[in-house]
Symmetry: C2
Subunit: 132 residues, 2 copies
């Protein structure tokens, strides 16, 4: 009986630690969202694409500050309000602004910019904090 | 002993179901990311802000298609590449494009647009699919 209770609490803790349920949807972990859209000079150049992806993923996968990540390419959607002209997207969440500030200052972040910034012609960043 | 093994597997299943670990970061659940930035006509008008937030959250919280969500306001960051001129941001993820297509067609989505589109002057949407 005690073990059944223990299993119940283990499940409960596991569930609440990985999601913040509201209605039928789940809030993304990390209150600070940092989204970046990159336009490469040569979006059809496979060597440039590979160099960019390798540099970005090497950096992102080692950062101790990021809570969640999504590295993407434009989806096959097309409406007037959609901008699908970018080459790569990066969506990151962080615990808070202070943690994102530390990520900005990481040596690996500076290395990524140093080795890849010549590949892009434009970058747009949107930073947002979760509505409470 | 059997129960110890059972608890181990329960923990393992709980852990793998809520995250896809790569290095030190966790991939956002849902392969399809849909990010929307709204510029309200009157961003300093508290009644317009409340009406927009209520309409948006009522819609988002009832949608059965969304995997994860983040409704935000511009963070207190400021660099040349950052666009912090928008009023509200919406970051959603979906299992795949087909699920996002269903969300676009929801009656509650159309109701949100019908009751709130007069409040905004501009909307930009970026849809992206996770790099595999």
């Amino acid at each position: 009986m005690k073990l059944k209770i223990a299993i119940f609490f283990i499940l409960l803790i596991g569930y609440t630690s990985c999601s913040d349920k509201t209605g039928t949807t789940t809030t993304i972990q990390g209150d600070f969202a940092h989204t970046v859209y990159f336009w490469l000079h040569n979006p059809d150049h496979s060597e440039d694409r590979e160099a960019f992806k390798t540099s970005l993923t090497n950096f992102i996968n080692q950062s101790p500050y990021i809570t969640t990540k999504h590295i993407g390419v434009p989806a096959k959607t097309n409406r007037d309000v959609i901008d699908n002209s970018y080459t790569y997207s990066l969506l990151l969440t962080f615990k808070d602004k202070a943690t994102q500030d530390q990520y900005q200052e990481e040596p690996a972040h500076k290395q990524f910019i140093a080795e890849s910034s010549h590949l892009w012609s434009k970058v747009i960043v949107y930073d947002s904090e979760n509505l409470k």
